[in-house]
C-alpha cells in the first residue's frame, strides 16, 4: 500500500468520525430546543386585545361575517316595557364601530340563521310565531312560519322574503333550522337539527335533501365556497364536504382535527376554514388536509367555555366573541382581537405551571383573571387526564418525583395524603402568615382536613359536606355513629333497603371504603378486618343485590320511601342552606347528619367544590404560585362565592360564610294586588319526585348547617384502590356461599396487613 492510499484511508476515517460526531452533537443539541426565540417561547405569539362592544345587547342570537364586517342579530330586554326587542347590527371590526340597521323584526319573531349571500345581500332565516289564546289568556294554539329574508347589508332594508315553512318542515308540522350556510353559488343549506340538510337554490326552489346518516354537529362554508359538516364517527368528530353534484356527503377530510368535545368551524380568510375547540384555534386547509395551530385559548387568557363565535380579518387578526359568566350567574359579551406578534416584542413573564388531572371552571376562570392582571407571572395549565386517565396519572406521578413537578398541583382526583407524606408539597401556613392571612379567619376544621402533622398542604376555596342522613326520631340527635351502632340500627328494622338504590357496593362504600381508617390503625400497624364489625358488615351486605337494578320500576319516590321508613338512610352532600331545607322536606321531619360510621363518631367529610390545590416544594416560583393560590382565599373572591339561592358550596372564609348565611336568611316579598307585602319563596328545590318551595332560612336552620360544617374535619374519597380490590375480590366467595364471612375476613386481614406493614 503506497503512502497515498494510506493517507486516503486515514482521511476517510477522519471524515467518517467527524460526520458521526456531528450527527451525535446535532442530535444531543437538538434535545429540548424548539423553534422558539431562545428563551423557551415560540417565535410568534398571539396577543389578545379586549374591546367593549358598543351595542344595545343582552344576548347575541345569530352572527354572520362578511369580510371585515360582522352582522349580529341581538336581543335586548327592556325593563320598562317588559319586552325583549331584537336588533340587527353591522359591526365593522377594523373601526370597532357598531351601526344599528333599520331592520325590525315583528313581535314574537326570532332569527335562527344568518349568512352572507352570493349577491352581497344578507340572508336571514326568520321564524314568525303566532299564538292563539283562550279566554283566560293561556296559549291555546301556536303556529310558526319560517321565512327567508333578503336584507341589504348597507342599511338593513328588507329586499325580499319567501315562506319556506313547507320546504323545511316537509311532512312534519314544525320547521326547525339548527345550522345555516350559503355556498359560493348562492345555494342555501339548512340543517334540521338531526341528520338532514335541505338545500334551496337562490330562487328559493328546493334542490334536494341530503341525509347525512349521522347527527350534524356543525356546518360551515369554506373560503372556496364549499359547505362542510362535522359529525361524530368512530374516531371522534369528522369533517366532511357536502357534495351537491352527487347529492351526498363526501368522505371525511383527512388530517382535519378530530377528537371529542366542543368544536366549531368558521369561514377562513387565509385558509379554507377556521377551527375552534376547547383547546384553541387553528387554520384548516381542506385541500391538503393540513392544520396550522394558531394558539391555545388559555395562552391568550380566554376561557374556551365562553367562546361563542370566532373569525378572521383580512389583516390576519383573529377575533372572538365571548360570553363571560360570573360566579353570580350574570354574563357579559366581549370582543377580543388576537394579533400575531414576534415573542421578542411581547414582555416575557415568569411561567408558573398548574398541573392537574382535569381543570374545573372556577380554577380556569381564576387563572385567566390572574394572567390578565399579573405583570410578573403567567400561569400555564397542563391537564394530565385529558386522554388516558391512568397514563396521565402515571405521568403526573413521574413528573412530581423527577424534578418536573408543576409549580401548583390541582388535587382533584389525587390522594393528596400520599404526596404530602413524600414531601412533594410545601407547607402553606408559613405563606399565610407571611402574607398577613390569619388562619383563624378561615374554618379551622376545613383547613385541618388538608393538614398532615400540623402542616397545611392544600387549600380549598369552597366545599360541601358529604354525609348520611336519617330521621332524628329514629337515630336520635347525633352527628355521628360507630359501625356497630349503625349495624344495630339497620338490622333492628325491617326496611326494604338501607338506602334508595342500595346494593352491596354502596354498603361497602358507606361502611368500609369511606371509613377505612376504622379498620386500620396506622400508628400500631394493626388491622381489624377479622373483627366483629367487618364480619357483621359482610353478613349485612350479603342481604343486598350485588348491583342495584336501575331498570326496575320505581313505584315510589325517595321521599315517600323515607317517610314510610321503607328506606332508612340517605347519602348525599350538603352544599347550601337551601339543600338542608330541602332534605328536611324530603324526610318530612327533623334529620340527623350521622355521616359515615366512625369510632370517633365524626363521619362527615369535607369535599371541595371549586377546586383544591397544593404548592410544589420544588417550585422555583413559590411566591408567584402562592400569589395565585391566595387569590382563592381573598375576601373579594370568597365574597364572590356568595349566592342568592344556594350555591355550589360554602366559602371557607368565615366572614364570607356569615354573609352567605345572612343572604340565606333574607326574606323575599312581593306586593299583592292590594299592595300588601307578602312573603314569597326564594326558590324551588327538588329531589326525585319531591319538590318544595324554599323560603328564607330560620336561625335554627342556619345553626344546623353551622353544626354540620363544624362536625367535618376530614376529606373523603381517598381510599386506595388496592384495598377496595382486595376486599371486593376476597369477599366474593362469601357472597357466593363458598366460604364463611369469618374465612374471607381472615384472608382480607392477611392481605391488607401486608399492605399496612409495607406502608408504615
Amino acid at each position: 500500500m503506497n503512502e497515498f492510499m494510506l493517507k486516503f484511508i486515514r482521511l476517510k476515517n477522519i471524515i467518517f468520525i467527524s460526520v458521526m460526531l456531528f450527527i451525535l452533537s446535532a442530535a444531543l443539541s437538538g434535545c429540548g430546543k424548539g423553534d422558539g426565540a431562545g428563551d423557551g417561547r415560540p417565535e410568534y405569539v398571539y396577543v389578545p386585545e379586549y374591546v367593549e362592544m358598543d351595542m344595545e345587547c343582552d344576548y347575541i342570537s345569530c352572527l354572520a361575517s362578511s369580510g371585515d364586517d360582522v352582522f349580529l342579530s341581538v336581543s335586548k330586554w327592556d325593563e320598562e316595557t317588559g319586552f325583549t326587542t331584537n336588533y340587527l347590527y353591522r359591526y365593522n371590526m377594523n373601526e370597532n364601530k357598531a351601526t344599528r340597521l333599520s331592520l325590525e323584526l315583528p313581535e314574537n319573531s326570532d332569527v335562527s340563521g344568518m349568512a352572507p349571500g352570493a349577491d352581497g345581500s344578507l340572508i336571514m332565516i326568520v321564524n314568525n310565531n303566532t299564538f292563539e289564546m283562550d279566554e283566560e289568556g293561556n296559549v291555546k294554539d301556536s303556529k310558526s312560519i319560517m321565512e327567508i329574508w333578503k336584507v341589504s347589508m348597507e342599511d338593513g332594508s328588507l329586499l325580499g322574503s319567501e315562506d319556506i315553512t313547507e320546504l323545511v318542515a316537509g311532512k312534519s308540522d314544525y320547521a326547525y333550522v339548527q345550522h345555516f350556510c350559503v355556498d359560493g353559488q348562492g345555494n342555501l343549506y339548512l340543517s334540521d337539527g338531526d341528520n338532514c340538510i335541505h338545500i334551496i337554490d337562490k330562487e328559493y326552489k328546493k334542490v334536494c335533501d341530503i341525509d347525512t346518516g349521522d347527527w350534524i354537529n356543525n356546518m360551515a362554508v369554506s373560503k372556496e365556497g364549499d359547505v362542510y359538516i362535522t359529525s361524530y364517527g368512530s374516531e371522534g368528530l369528522q369533517l366532511k364536504k357536502v357534495d351537491l353534484a352527487g347529492k351526498k356527503i363526501g368522505d371525511s377530510v383527512a388530517g382535519a382535527p378530530s377528537g371529542y368535545g366542543t368544536q366549531s368551524y368558521y369561514t377562513g380568510v387565509s385558509s379554507s376554514l377556521l377551527h375552534s375547540s376547547a383547546g384553541g384555534v387553528s387554520r384548516v386547509d381542506t385541500a391538503s388536509g393540513t392544520v396550522e395551530t394558531l394558539f391555545d385559548w388559555l395562552d391568550v387568557d380566554i376561557n374556551s367555555d365562553y367562546v361563542n363565535y370566532v373569525g378572521e380579518l383580512s389583516d390576519g387578526r383573529i377575533w372572538a366573541i365571548t360570553r363571560n359568566y360570573e360566579i353570580s350567574g350574570s354574563a357579559t359579551n366581549e370582543l377580543v382581537f388576537f394579533t400575531r406578534k414576534p415573542s421578542s416584542e411581547v414582555p416575557a413573564k415568569e411561567e408558573i405551571l398548574y398541573g392537574t388531572m382535569w381543570i374545573g371552571s372556577d380554577v380556569k376562570r381564576n387563572i385567566i383573571n390572574f394572567n390578565k392582571t399579573n405583570q410578573t407571572y403567567r400561569i400555564k395549565v397542563k391537564e394530565y387526564g385529558n386522554d388516558d386517565y391512568q397514563a396521565g396519572l402515571t405521568q403526573l406521578n413521574a413528573d412530581m418525583t423527577t424534578g418536573n413537578c408543576p409549580d401548583i398541583i390541582g388535587l382533584d382526583g389525587l390522594d393528596y395524603n400520599q404526596y404530602a407524606n413524600k414531601g412533594i408539597f410545601e407547607d402553606l401556613y408559613p405563606y399565610m402568615e407571611k402574607h398577613g392571612m390569619d388562619r383563624q379567619d378561615f374554618l379551622e376544621n376545613v383547613l385541618e382536613a388538608y393538614e398532615v402533622d400540623g402542616k397545611l398542604y392544600g387549600i380549598v376555596p369552597c366545599f360541601q359536606i358529604s354525609t348520611c342522613m336519617a330521621k332524628t326520631s329514629l337515630v336520635g340527635e347525633r352527628s355521628g355513629w360507630t359501625l356497630t351502632e349503625m349495624l344495630d340500627f339497620v338490622e333492628g328494622r325491617e326496611a326494604e333497603n338501607i338506602f334508595d338504590y342500595g346494593s352491596r357496593s354502596s354498603i361497602f362504600y358507606y361502611c368500609i371504603y369511606n371509613n377505612i381508617d376504622e379498620f386500620i390503625n396506622w400508628e400500631t400497624g394493626e388491622c381489624s378486618f377479622d373483627g366483629e364489625g367487618f364480619i357483621r358488615t359482610l353478613e349485612f351486605a350479603a342481604q343486598f343485590p350485588e348491583e342495584y337494578d336501575y331498570n326496575s320500576v320505581q313505584e315510589e319516590g325517595t321521599s315517600s320511601k323515607l317517610r314510610s321508613e321503607k328506606i332508612l338512610l340517605m347519602q348525599g352532600s350538603i352544599s347550601s342552606v337551601q339543600q338542608l331545607q330541602m332534605m328536611r322536606g324530603v324526610f318530612g321531619e327533623e334529620i340527623s347528619f350521622v355521616g359515615y360510621p366512625n369510632s370517633e363518631r365524626q363521619g362527615n367529610l369535607v369535599q371541595p367544590t371549586g377546586g383544591s390545590m397544593a404548592l410544589s416544594a420544588k417550585s422555583k416560583h413559590k411566591e408567584g404560585a402562592w400569589e395565585f393560590m391566595q387569590s382563592f382565599l381573598s375576601e373579594e373572591y370568597q365574597d364572590s362565592l356568595i349566592s342568592e339561592h344556594g350555591g355550589w358550596g360554602f366559602p371557607v372564609r368565615k366572614e364570607s360564610l356569615e354573609k352567605q348565611f345572612e343572604q340565606d336568611m333574607k326574606e323575599e316579598y312581593y306586593e299583592d294586588e292590594d299592595g300588601n307585602k307578602t312573603r314569597q319563596p326564594k326558590t324551588t328545590w327538588g329531589w326525585d319526585d319531591f319538590e318544595m318551595e324554599i323560603y328564607a332560612a330560620t336561625p335554627e336552620e342556619i345553626e344546623a348547617v353551622r353544626e354540620l360544617i363544624a362536625s367535618a374535619n376530614k376529606t373523603g374519597g381517598n381510599v386506595d384502590e388496592q384495598l377496595t380490590n382486595i376486599i371486593t375480590e376476597e369477599a366474593e366467595p362469601f357472597f357466593k356461599g363458598q366460604k364463611t364471612a369469618a374465612d374471607v375476613a381472615q384472608i382480607i386481614q392477611n392481605r391488607i396487613q401486608i399492605y399496612v406493614n409495607e406502608n408504615r
Binding site: 418525583t401 416544594a617 388496592q722 380490590n725 384472608i747 392481605r751 401486608i754 406493614n757 409495607e758
Partner: protein, 304 residues
C-alpha cells in the same frame, strides 16, 4: 550502560509505535459506544439508586445516611418478603438443579420416547406467561380442578392461593416453568464430557455412581454453577407469576421482595425501594460469590 541504553531504546520502540497507538485509538473508538451505553444505562442508574437510598426523598434530597436502610430493615413487610424470598429460593433452586440434572441423566440413558419427553419438558418455555397463569388459576382456584379431584376422593377443599399452601403452588409452578431449560443445559454439559475418560473408568471397574460423582459431576461443575445462578435469578422473577395470580398484595406467604419494591415504586417511595434494592443486591452478590468459590474449589482440577 550499554545494556540500559539498549533497554531504553527497545522500550521507546515498542511504546511509541504509531501502529500500536493507532490500534489503541481505534479500539477505544470501537469501545466508546459500548462504554457510554454501560455508563448511561447501568452505572448511572445504579448511582441514582445509591443516591436515592441515602436521601430522605428525591424532592428535598436531604442526606440521611443509613436511615432508609434501617427503616427498611425494620419494616415487617420487608422482613416477611425477605424470608419468603429466601425460603422460596432455598427450596426451589436446589430442586430445580437436582430435578433437571436427574431428568438430563434420564434422557441421556437409553429410554424410549426421549425426544417426546424432551419436547414435553421444554414446552412450558413456549407458553406465554399470561396463559400459564390462567392455567394455574384454573388448576388451583378454590373451585379449580385440583379441588375437584380432591373432592372426588372425599378430601376437603383447600384454598391453595390463600393459605400456607400458596408457596407450594409457586414452587411447583417455578419447577414446571424452569426444568426444561435447565435440563437442556445439563444435557449439553453431559455430552461434552470426554468419552475416553469414562471408558477408562469403566475399564478400571468404576461403578456408575462413582463415574457420576467423580467424573460427570466434576466436569459439569461450571454448568451446575451456571444453572444454579440462573435458577436463583429466575427464583426472584417468580414475582411476575404471583403478581398475575394475586396482584400487588397476595397471601402473606407469596409476598416476595419484588412485591415490596414494585409496590414502593408505585407509591413513589423511591428511597425505600432503593434501600431495599441495594440490600437485595448485596445479598445476591454474596450468594453468587459463595457459589463461585464453591465451583472454583470443586471444578479447578478439570478446567485447567
Amino acid at each position: 550502560m550499554h545494556f540500559y541504553m539498549k533497554r531504553k531504546e527497545r522500550k521507546k520502540k515498542t511504546g511509541s509505535s504509531p501502529r500500536t497507538r493507532r490500534g489503541k485509538l481505534v479500539s477505544a473508538g470501537y469501545l466508546l459506544p459500548s462504554a457510554v451505553g454501560v455508563l448511561l444505562f447501568f452505572v448511572l442508574p445504579f448511582m441514582i439508586v445509591i443516591y436515592y437510598s441515602v436521601v430522605d426523598n428525591p424532592i428535598s434530597g436531604q442526606f440521611v445516611f443509613l436511615d432508609n436502610f434501617i427503616m427498611v430493615f425494620n419494616n415487617s413487610a420487608f422482613r416477611q418478603a425477605a424470608v419468603n424470598t429466601l425460603t422460596f429460593s432455598a427450596v426451589a433452586v436446589p430442586l430445580a438443579v437436582v430435578l433437571s440434572l436427574f431428568l438430563a441423566m434420564m434422557l441421556e440413558s437409553k429410554i424410549p420416547f426421549k425426544s417426546q419427553f424432551r419436547t414435553f419438558f421444554l414446552s412450558p418455555m413456549m407458553v406465554p406467561i399470561a396463559s400459564v397463569v390462567l392455567i394455574w388459576q384454573v388448576l388451583f382456584h378454590y373451585n379449580g380442578m385440583m379441588n375437584e379431584v380432591m373432592g372426588f376422593f372425599g378430601a376437603d377443599k383447600v384454598d391453595w392461593l390463600n393459605s400456607s399452601y400458596a408457596q407450594v403452588v409457586i414452587v411447583v409452578l417455578f419447577l414446571w416453568k424452569n426444568l426444561g431449560y435447565n435440563m437442556i443445559l445439563f444435557m449439553a454439559a453431559l455430552s461434552s464430557i470426554p468419552k475416553d475418560i469414562i471408558e477408562v473408568a469403566v475399564l478400571e471397574s468404576a461403578k456408575p455412581n462413582q463415574i457420576f460423582m467423580h467424573i460427570k459431576l466434576r466436569y459439569m461443575s461450571s454448568t451446575i454453577l451456571f444453572v444454579t445462578i440462573m435458577s436463583l435469578i429466575n427464583s426472584f422473577k417468580v414475582f411476575r407469576e404471583i403478581y398475575l395470580l394475586k396482584g400487588e398484595y397476595p397471601y402473606p406467604t407469596m409476598y416476595m421482595l419484588q412485591h415490596f419494591m414494585n409496590n414502593t415504586f408505585g407509591r413513589l417511595d423511591y428511597q425505600k425501594m432503593s434501600a431495599a434494592a441495594i440490600m437485595m443486591a448485596v445479598v445476591m452478590v454474596i450468594i453468587i460469590g459463595i457459589l463461585f468459590l464453591t465451583e472454583n474449589y470443586f471444578g479447578k482440577d478439570v478446567e485447567g
